[in-house]
Amino acid sequence: MTKTEFLEKLKNQLSTFDESEAENWLKYYGEMLDDRIEEGQSEEEAVNSLGSIDAIIDEILQQTPITRLAKAKLNRKTLRGWEIALFIIGFPLWFPLLISAFAVVLSVYVSIWSVIISLWAAFASVVACGFSGIVVGIGFIITGKLSSGFALIGAGLTLSGFSIFLFFGCKAASYGIIWLTKKIVLSIKNSFIKKEAAK
């Protein structure tokens, strides 16, 4: 890829960005490429050393707050008269739809987190049962009820052992959710640019 091709591609990808902001990124990468070429690299080498366009876009998106992406997109769109009329007439229709779509997304997210919270709650209760089993078991032994006491201590120890496995499971699940959340945010941000670039 030549320098011009690279900058052209980047420009397409940034087409939904605020104009001056996109311009700044382009100037910056242009200067970076010129400096590399001046140092003796070929255009091809210089472009390759910056990494793939997709990776660059991902990084730019991560650095740009989601509100600014949305605002830039709205500013770019000029509404025609009939579009505005449709927008107002359609209000009873699209507004509840928008709210319900938002509610669905929110509830999915909340339910994922409730699974995590209940997993940890289950973990906590197993730990509590294990601990109290041992304590009450010791109490039974002291008061002379030997067989019940040993049975309780045994159950308590089993639960404690089980809780160790549960802990690692809960931890892995929590990390998984955090990872998933990051992916979702990035893909939402991606949806702001990829659609426009495809047009």
């Binding site: 910056l50 990084e59 730019i60």
Partner: protein, 108 residues
Amino acid sequence: MDIQMKRGLLDVAVLAAIKNEDSYGYQIIKDLKPYMEISESTLYPILRRLEVGDLLTVRDTIHNGRVRKYYHITEKGLEKINAFKNEWQEIMLIYDFVIREESGNDKD
């Protein structure tokens, strides 16, 4: 490395790269490369953040018939480097403590 920590370190490292003389994007990346992994797309937001925070100023210069942006450290930028050096001494004290405790436990 922890992201927040790396972010703070990068800010100071970039300031240090322009401390003695004004520098430009590619030169800063080359100067930092032996010490930390930094890509073009990481550097740019840092430069912007430092500019907005008045820690550096930017000036366009003509170089070989094209524009090249030079970055110049401000008084506030120099203060930031000094603050970092002081903070780091506190961190080194904690580091020493951590290392001492570790080696102490190994002997047991």
